[in-house]
Amino acid sequence: MGDVLQESAQLSAVPPHARAELAAACDRFTIRRGEALFRQGMAADALYIVAGGRLEIAARIPGDTMAAVSLIGPGEVVGEFALLDDGLRSADVVALADSEMLRLSRARFLALLADGKPWTLDLIDMLRGLVATRTRATLARIAATARYDLSSLRSPAKGGATGPGGDAAPLFTALGRLAGLGDDGAALLVAAGSCLTVPRGTLLAEAGAAPDRLTLVLRGALRSTLPRPEGGEQVMVHGPGEMTGLVGLFDGAPQPLGLEAAETAVVLQVPRAHFETLRCSPAPHALALFAAAGRQLVRDQRRANRHLGRAVSLARFNRHGAA
């Protein structure tokens, strides 16, 4: 089974010796055709890797029907949210054939991470990148579908004059999502970035922009939008303590969504070079920032999935009885 990990494309960013240690940390088991690996809404307590076989990922949508998400096979990872946040399972995973599986429990992983095993940092960085890839794929599916109400689109934001944001450090004190940074960590981050005030309705970045910065919302709100010919389709709203721009920062490709100020906002922009420095750093504030980034990536993936589910289910609802 170790060979499967060595040959896994998804795990290619994890060094070979780390993959060997990962394999050693996993439990092995077989799941029979038709059995559920886990169900949507269950507590997420483990990450799984397919060693052999085939499984289907599907989500329930309004009307209590299933919407297929994807098929997974050997070398592929599923259930990775379990190591990144403490939310519930977001989909059903069912075996389409008898399948050999590897299981890494959340409790075991966290214990190894706390022990300072270097491979755990490689793995979790890979998992963040994997979630970013999945979010980009979901956004591509949303972009490819014409299922949106024209009434839900918004007028494009316009360029506006941003201003200095003042002293950002005190604004961190009320942000629970970034509490792990501590005062010193917040001060270090503020020193490396630029604090701006962005008036409501101001365009911060077009979809397709280079992933050259992390944007942290300190006050107010930003909106991520997908450009449509008739206007902007709101996909997510980011409130205080949230990060934007993570998909492009983790996978290196242009940002899939545009970014504008939904409310007058105070933001901290951190250059990509500093983001990458922190990504490789074992400093406590860097670890805290990237733990928050992992939770943000999961949150955004859930939002993207929900947005897609909304579009699909509304289209079905409105087709009912139609010729």
Binding site: Q40, R60, I61, P62, D64, G220, T264
Partner: protein, 304 residues
């Protein structure tokens, strides 16, 4: 804060909506899933029973009791089947300055106006700004305001902006009136220099149409000392299906979206398992209309 539940669809027993699910509206009185607050300051509902005398007029019920202890409501819920419902439990800060009385129980519905409204949220600085709202409220509705809540004023603004408040208005007209009311509030907030995050999650129902609004003024803007409830956009969820009931041990709407004609909208899902529920997007309205033969649902952007 508060919790709201609204339903539009085939007749269902009121008990199955208010009491039966594992996170039912009445269970949310003390154990809401998405709100760290008790909702003890009253229960109210407008319930439309298609088999009743004058079915276009709702049965109305309001109490300042904690509704889980209300035997009359429980008895009523076990008999009444509703095709439309707007129900609300009120949550207020735990302080003696708050007025807990009949007049402040939602949903609001002026005499002669078919449209009812319930609110989840609060407008910061309302006591300073309310007198500036008077010119935007029809005199007959200004006289009808009997409570002290910001919610009743929002309702009065919307009712005043309807082309014919005494009739069942088209969904477009209801939405236009909501936009007008929100724009008025935004203007008055700016005039008074109020820029603190203020939520206006609203559900309107007249027994035929349903409009659910998820909106916050100046979301995310707050002083560190006032952050409670300001860092998260207040939730609002919906689900739809053909048949509401207990299926596989879970209260839910089943039958597939393609066969659906019933819709539930609530501040939060009525079940611990919310796989079949989806959020109303932020700064948006979910509009459910009925063309006489069937229902349609649409999302509308709210930019005011």
């Amino acid at each position: 804060m508060c919790r709201i539940l609204s339903y539009l669809g085939g007749p269902v027993l009121l008990d199955d909506l208010l009491y039966a699910p594992d996170s039912s509206l009445l269970n949310q009185t003390v154990s809401a899933q998405m709100l760290a607050m008790l909702n003890l300051a009253g229960f109210g509902m407008a319930a439309w029973d298609p088999a009743s005398h004058e079915p276009q007029a709702p049965y109305r019920y309001r109490t300042t009791q904690v509704a889980v202890f209300d035997r009359n409501l429980k008895e009523l819920a076990s008999k009444l089947r509703v095709g439309a419902l707007l129900a609300h439990i009120r949550g207020v800060p735990l302080t003696s300055t708050v007025q807990v009385n009949d007049q402040n129980v939602h949903p609001f519905r002026f005499d002669g106006v078919p449209l009812a409204m319930a609110h989840n949220g609060d407008l910061a600085g309302f006591r300073d700004m309310r007198f500036d709202l008077v010119p935007h409220v029809r005199p007959e509705f200004a006289r009808a305001i009997s409570g002290s809540t910001d919610s009743e004023w929002i309702y009065a603004l919307v009712a005043s902006a309807l082309p014919d408040p005494g009739a069942v208005n088209a969904p477009e007209a209801i939405l236009a009136a909501i936009r007008s009311a929100l724009a008025t509030i935004r203007t008055v907030r700016e005039r008074h220099g109020i820029d603190r995050s203020s939520s206006a999650n609203l559900i309107f129902c007249d027994g035929t149409n349903l409009v659910a609004v998820r909106y916050t003024f100046d979301f995310g803007r707050f002083a560190a000392s006032q952050m409670q409830g300001s860092a998260e956009f207040l939730s609002m969820w919906y689900t739809f299906g053909a048949d509401y009931g207990l299926h596989d041990g879970e209260w839910k709407l089943t039958g597939g979206a393609g066969q659906a004609d019933s819709i539930l909208v609530a501040s939060e899902p009525l079940t611990r398992d919310f796989a079949t529920w989806i959020e109303v997007p932020e700064y948006s309205a979910l509009v459910v209309r009925n063309d006489g033969a069937r229902r349609f649902a649409e999302i509308h952007a709210l930019e005011v």
